[in-house]
């Protein structure tokens, strides 16, 4: 498998990464058929198109997927991250910092 370069983003950054692979940590509100209603780490609600065998066991998950548009993510993989919702604020702050000019060269 080729090295996939994925970027950690939150909801509001989706518009900039349309078509790219991204990682998003957030809370799964509910699963409806083949998609999930998902709250991103910065509080936006988006829709995630799920793979058929998606195993979602925890409230907080990280999705790796392709950004379809600024409110939809097409899932490639999911990682369960427990149920502690306090993590969201920590993650979000980290994501913001990652994208700041002084730090972004450390990451991408």
């Amino acid at each position: 498998m080729a090295q996939i370069e994925d970027v950690r983003i939150n909801g509001k950054m989706m518009g900039e990464y349309v078509g790219k692979i991204a990682r998003m940590v957030g809370k799964v509100n509910r699963v409806v058929d083949r998609s999930a209603v998902f709250t991103t780490s910065d509080g936006m609600t988006i829709s995630v198109t799920l793979l058929p065998d998606a195993k979602i066991t925890d409230t907080i998950v990280e999705f790796v997927g392709q950004v379809v548009n600024d409110t939809t993510l097409k899932m490639l993989a999911v990682y369960n991250m427990g149920d502690d919702e306090d993590l969201l604020s920590v993650v979000d702050q980290t994501v913001e910092l990652i994208h700041k000019p002084q730090f972004s060269n450390m990451f991408y």
Binding site: D84, D86, L87, V90, Q93, T94, L97, Q102, F103
Partner: protein
């Protein structure tokens, strides 16, 4: 002239004070008061030809006497003067304080003056209109009265007939006055303490007294202990008189008063039941967050929740060689700061308050032992779950949020393994530590760091130790199943193994070798040293695997850096005083905080 009403009045606007009465000095006597810097004073008897009164010359007039200008029978104009009243049990004595005067001449004794004070009628001494304690000063204000009419005044309610006692506010006490009575509540009573010094042995006890004006410490020694110790009860109000007012020995007390009282054989103590005006203990609480603005050894009051109660430990006083019981509490308050608070002696032993109580502490001593610590001292008081609004609010806050809140701590690593805590404000990297040369000079340095174990030296992981609690000395095997401890003078069939380990740990800067003791071993390996040894006996492979498992674990380390000389090599040793597992959330928050701070911009 002296019988005129105004002499009795101290009201400065009274016209007589503007006049310059001409009087005669009947006698002058030198008085040298005791104390560190005695200034010569002169007692005088001043007459207006009809009466005489006692008086004192202000020190600035000493030169007049020394130069011979003011002598017996001098006639003078009093240009500036005031009246002091001294009250004793049955008598009312007034003193005329001369602040400035002009000598007019000398002549023989004029008239046959009589003692003004003796004119007081029987049983009517005292203040005519007692003011409330809050307004009272040393000088009492009397209502002007017609001359030569026998003075009467309403007896203050509740007094036994015959003794009309006037109560001084504690604030007014000074060594210049020895005839006073105070009415105060005992807010703290110490145990009887024994001491010995060059002059022999003795015992003492002390109480802290409080009224609306101030607080003061009072001590009784030796025989007085027997007389008075049982008379006092904490919380009750007493009238006290005939004690000695002395300069406070700040070393032994943290009560806020320049003076303190010495109870003597003649000291009178009377319990008082009308306590309507007596205030309850007054606090001025400081938030734990603000402790670092307090200087070391200052005195504070705090209102806190006891989050954690430490174990009772013994500390041997280097001075007296006695073992003193000690207990540390972790206390927190709404400023979301936590602090270590130490109890001593009986209080430490008897402390057993479950359910994280609210406690109001008064008179705690602030220490700077690793940040900031609080300590109970001889005159501190502790009130559990006080019935105060702030206490209830604190209880409510803690039950709601405080229980789960993350507290910032003022205490960084302490010297003893049992009481060290982790301080985020004093985090350093290993590189910092080495650059700053922590521990290289004579003293010990403490720091906290977050690091990962990279290597554990497998040999010499533990030593056989004395099983007596708190002993921990290495025991020598002197026979089969016979391990002897020199310190306790006891033998045991089996020692208790305790870890002593050399660990290589690294953070993102560099690596350092740390020394860990029993608690470190248990945290790293997850089992006690005895179990590790059993495992080793059972299977060498399993044992090595267990050791390897410790590698890679990360902790918060609280470290003491000290220079040691061991067999000719002098090295800085990093001893782990305490370690704590990482709470990732807290670590993240802390890192984020740093990133958001100006440091990272």
């Amino acid at each position: 002239m002296f019988t005129d009403a105004p002499l009795s009045s101290e009201d400065p606007s009274n016209p007589i004070f503007d006049s310059n009465p001409r009087v005669q000095i009947l006698s002058i006597k030198k008085v040298t008061p005791g104390g560190p810097n005695p200034v010569e004073r002169h007692r005088v008897i001043i007459s207006d030809g009809v009466h005489f009164v006692q008086g004192m010359l202000a020190a600035q007039l000493n030169s007049l006497v020394l130069d011979g200008l003011a002598v017996k029978n001098s006639v003078v104009n009093l240009t500036k003067w005031a009246v002091n009243t001294l009250t004793t049990q049955q008598q009312n004595k007034r003193l005329l304080i001369v602040l400035a005067m002009e000598v007019v001449g000398v002549t023989e004794k004029i008239g046959s003056p009589e003692n003004l004070d003796l004119k007081a009628s029987e049983g009517a001494a005292g203040v005519a209109s007692p003011t409330t304690p809050a307004e009272q000063k040393v000088f009492k204000v009397e209502v002007p009265q017609a001359s030569s009419a026998p003075r009467q005044q309403p007896k203050p309610a509740g007094r036994p007939p015959g003794s009309t006692v006037v109560v001084f506010p504690i604030e007014s006490l000074s060594p210049y006055q020895n005839k006073w009575t105070i009415k105060a509540r005992v807010i703290q009573k110490s145990d009887i303490k024994h001491y010995s010094n060059q002059r022999g042995e003795g015992k003492l006890f002390s109480v802290t007294l409080m009224d609306e004006s101030a607080e003061i410490k009072a001590t009784g020694f030796n025989t007085v202990v027997d007389e008075l110790y049982d008379k006092f009860e904490e919380g009750k109000v007493y009238e006290i008189s005939r004690g000695k007012v002395q300069i406070a020995k700040r070393k032994y007390s943290n009560v806020n008063n320049d003076y303190e009282l010495n109870f003597e054989r003649g000291t009178e103590v009377r319990e008082v039941t009308d306590v309507a005006e007596m205030p309850a203990i007054k606090y001025s609480f400081i938030e734990l967050k603000a402790l670092d603005q307090q200087t070391k050894d200052s005195t504070v009051d705090v209102l806190v929740i006891v989050k954690q109660i430490g174990d009772l430990t013994q500390v041997t006083s280097k001075a007296t060689q006695k073992a003193i019981p000690k207990r540390d509490l972790t206390v927190v308050d709404r400023s979301t700061y936590s602090c270590r608070l130490t109890l001593w002696g009986k209080q430490a032993e008897n402390f057993n308050e479950p359910n994280q109580p609210v406690i109001a502490f008064k008179g705690l001593r602030v220490g700077d032992f690793g940040g900031r610590t609080l300590s109970m001292s001889g005159s501190s008081t502790m009130t559990v779950n006080p019935d105060m609004e702030e206490a209830h609010k604190l209880r409510g806050w803690f039950d709601q949020e405080g229980g789960a809140a993350n507290f910032q701590s003022h205490s960084s690593a302490g010297a003893s393994a049992g009481s060290a805590t982790i301080s985020r404000t004093e985090m350093k990297t290993f590189q910092d530590v080495k650059d700053e040369g922590l521990g290289t000079e004579e003293r010990q340095d403490f720091f906290t760091t977050r690091a990962t174990i990279t290597h554990i030296k497998p040999d010499n992981l533990a030593y056989p130790a004395c099983p007596t609690p708190n002993c921990n000395k290495k025991v020598i095997e002197s026979g089969y199943e016979n391990w002897r401890c020199e310190k306790c003078d006891k033998s045991y069939p089996k020692p208790e193994y305790r870890y002593i380990m050399s660990i290589a740990a690294a953070d993102y800067t560099t690596q350092a070798w740390l020394q860990g003791f029993n608690d470190v071993g248990i945290a790293v390996f997850g089992m006690k040293a005895d179990e590790m040894f059993e495992l080793k006996d059972a299977s060498q492979d399993d044992f090595e695997a267990a050791v390897k498992k410790g590698v890679g674990k990360s902790f918060l380390f609280s470290i003491k850096a000290k220079t040691d000389t061991y067999n000719d090599t002098t090295r800085v040793r990093y001893g782990v005083m305490r370690l704590a597992p990482l709470d990732w959330k807290e670590e993240c928050h802390s890192l984020l905080e740093t990133l958001h701070s100006p440091y990272a911009q």
